[in-house]
C-alpha cells in the first residue's frame, strides 16, 4: 500500500473519531437540558388551584400584614378572590407585596411564577369631537369594547368627574363593539376631567376604561403627578404631592356614583352590592391646575412575578388561566410557572 493511502486512511479515521466524539460529547453535555419529561402540568395545575382556592395564612392577610402561606380566596365560593389580596399584587399600590414575599409564601423552592389579572375584555375610549359654546363645551367620545380584537357588545355606564362635580350618562356598544357618548360641561368647571366608562355584557362580565381630557385647560399631565391613590381594606389612602390640595373623592361603578366620605386624610370606600369594579377618582388643585387622579378597586390590570419569557429552553414553563370572581365581577387570572426541567 502506498504511503499516501495509509496517511489518508489514518487521517479519515482520525476525523471520524473526532467528529463522532464531538457529537457524543455535545450530546452528553446538552442532554440534561434537552431531554427528559417537561411541562409537569398536573403539578402546576395543582399549584394554581391551591393558590386560588385557599385563603392563605393569615386568612385576612389582604387587609393587613404579610402572608406566610399564599392563597387569594375570600372564603366565599370557589374561585372567589379577596379584593384586597388581589389589589396588593399591584406594584403601584402603597401596600403592594413584593414577589420575594409571595414566592416564600408559596413555599415551593423550585418553582418561580408570574401572575397577571385583567378584566375579561377591553374598553378603549377616544375623544372624537369638541364643540365650544359661550357657556359650555360639548364633547363626544367613542367607545370600543373588544376582546383580543373581537368585538364585544356591552351596556355602558358613563361618568365624568371634574373639580367637585360628576355627570353621568348611559349607552351601549353595538355588535361591532362600537358606541359613543356625549357630555356637555359648563365652562366654569374647567380643568382636567376624567371620562369613566364601565361596560357590562352580562351581570358579572364587566370591564372599564378611563380617559383624562382637558376641559378648557392645558393637556392633562401624566397620572400620579399630583397624588398617588392606594385602595386597601376599603380605605382610599392618598399621598399628595407638595403644594397640592384635594377637593373631592368619588366612586363610580356600573350602577352607582357618589362622593366618598372623608376619614381623616383618607377616604372610606363603601361595600357595594354592585357586581362591578369601582373607579375611585380624586380631584383637586394646585397653584395653576385643576387636576384629577384615579385608581380602580380592585387595582387591576396588574402583573407581578418572575420573568419567564426567556431562558425557557432549559426550564419547564407553563401557563394556566382561570376565571375568578372579585366582588361579583369576573376577571381572568393567569399564572405562569417555571422550574428546572425534570428529567427521566
Amino acid at each position: 500500500m502506498p504511503t499516501a493511502s495509509i496517511d489518508f486512511t489514518l487521517a479519515a479515521f482520525a476525523m471520524i473519531v473526532v467528529v463522532m466524539g464531538a457529537i457524543f460529547g455535545a450530546n452528553m453535555a446538552a442532554s440534561p437540558f434537552l431531554g427528559g419529561s417537561v411541562h409537569d402540568q398536573e403539578r402546576y395545575d395543582q399549584l394554581g388551584r391551591h393558590i386560588l382556592l385557599s385563603r392563605g395564612d393569615p386568612i385576612d392577610w389582604g387587609a393587613a400584614g404579610l402572608p406566610t402561606s399564599l392563597g387569594f380566596a375570600s372564603g366565599g365560593g370557589p374561585y372567589e378572590l379577596d379584593i384586597d389580596k388581589v389589589t396588593r399584587l399591584n406594584p403601584s399600590n402603597a401596600y403592594a407585596i413584593n414577589y420575594t414575599i409571595l414566592w416564600e409564601a408559596l413555599g415551593v423552592d423550585d418553582v418561580s411564577f408570574v401572575i397577571a389579572v385583567e378584566p375579561l375584555f377591553d374598553v378603549a375610549l377616544n375623544q372624537t369631537s369638541t364643540q365650544q359654546n359661550p357657556d359650555n363645551a360639548s364633547y363626544t367620545f367613542s367607545v370600543k369594547t373588544t376582546r383580543e380584537g373581537y368585538p364585544v357588545q356591552a351596556d355602558l355606564s358613563c361618568y365624568i368627574a371634574t373639580r367637585n362635580s360628576t355627570y353621568s350618562a348611559s349607552g351601549s356598544t353595538d355588535g361591532y363593539g362600537l358606541g359613543s357618548v356625549q357630555f356637555t360641561l359648563p365652562n366654569s368647571k374647567n380643568g382636567t376631567a376624567l371620562l369613566v366608562v364601565i361596560a357590562r355584557t352580562t351581570e358579572s362580565v364587566v370591564s372599564y376604561g378611563v380617559l383624562p381630557f382637558a376641559h378648557n385647560s392645558d393637556a392633562p399631565r401624566p397620572s400620579g403627578i399630583y397624588a398617588t391613590l392606594s385602595p386597601c381594606n376599603h380605605v382610599l389612602e392618598i399621598e399628595l404631592s407638595p403644594n397640592v390640595t384635594a377637593w373631592n373623592a368619588a366612586v363610580f361603578s356600573m350602577g352607582y356614583c357618589f362622593n366618598l366620605t372623608s376619614a381623616g386624610a383618607n377616604y372610606a370606600i363603601p361595600y357595594l352590592k354592585d357586581a362591578s369594579p369601582m373607579i375611585l377618582v380624586l380631584t383637586g388643585s394646585n397653584a395653576s391646575d385643576h387636576w384629577a387622579e384615579w385608581v380602580a378597586y380592585p387595582q387591576v390590570p396588574l402583573q407581578i412575578g418572575a420573568d419567564i419569557s426567556d431562558e425557557y429552553v432549559a426550564s419547564d414553563v407553563a401557563q394556566a388561566s382561570y376565571l375568578v370572581d372579585v366582588n361579583g365581577a369576573l376577571y381572568r387570572f393567569e399564572i405562569g410557572f417555571r422550574s428546572p426541567a425534570s428529567y427521566e
Binding site: A30, T201, T202, Q319, S321, Y322, L323
Partner: protein
C-alpha cells in the same frame, strides 16, 4: 475503491451524521406551551358556566329566554380559539332556544360536550339542562 470514491463516501457519511445530530437535537428542545393545548375543553366549559351562574344568572337568563345574552357572555368567558354551541333543554328534554347560541359553528380537532343543570328562581322552580359543546 478509488481515492475519490472514498472521499465521497466519507462526505456522505459526515453529512448524514450532521443531519441526524441536528434532527436529534431539534426534536428534544422543549417549547413553551400554554395549558390550552392540553387543558380538557370540559374544564373550560364547566368553569365558564359555574362562574356565569354564580348568582343564578344563567337561570334568570334562560327563564327570560335571553339566548343572545347567554351567547354574549360565553363569547367573552370562553377563550378565543375555542368554538362553542349551546343548547338549552327543559325537564322533558325539549329544546328551548329558538336561535343558535354559538360563536359561528362548532369546529376543531377535538369536540367535547358537557351538561350543566340550571335551576331558575321562580314560583314553579323550573329545571333546565344546558348542553355546551366545545371544539378546539
Amino acid at each position: 475503491m478509488s481515492r475519490r470514491g472514498a472521499v465521497h463516501t466519507l462526505d456522505a457519511f459526515f453529512a448524514a451524521a450532521i443531519i441526524a445530530a441536528a434532527l436529534l437535537y431539534s426534536t428534544g428542545i422543549p417549547r413553551e406551551r400554554g395549558y390550552l393545548e392540553d387543558e380538557p375543553l370540559e374544564a373550560w366549559g364547566v368553569q365558564a358556566l359555574v362562574e356565569l351562574d354564580r348568582n343564578g344568572t344563567l337561570g334568570r337568563l334562560v327563564d327570560a329566554k335571553g339566548w343572545e345574552e347567554i351567547e354574549r357572555a360565553l363569547r367573552v368567558v370562553i377563550p378565543v380559539g375555542i368554538s362553542f354551541n349551546a343548547t338549552v333543554f327543559d325537564e322533558l328534554g325539549s329544546c328551548l332556544n329558538d336561535r343558535p347560541i354559538s360563536n359561528g359553528g362548532l369546529s376543531g380537532r377535538t369536540v367535547k360536550s358537557i351538561e350543566y343543570p340550571i335551576a331558575a328562581v321562580s314560583g314553579t322552580c323550573p329545571f333546565y339542562r344546558l348542553r355546551l359543546q366545545l371544539g378546539g
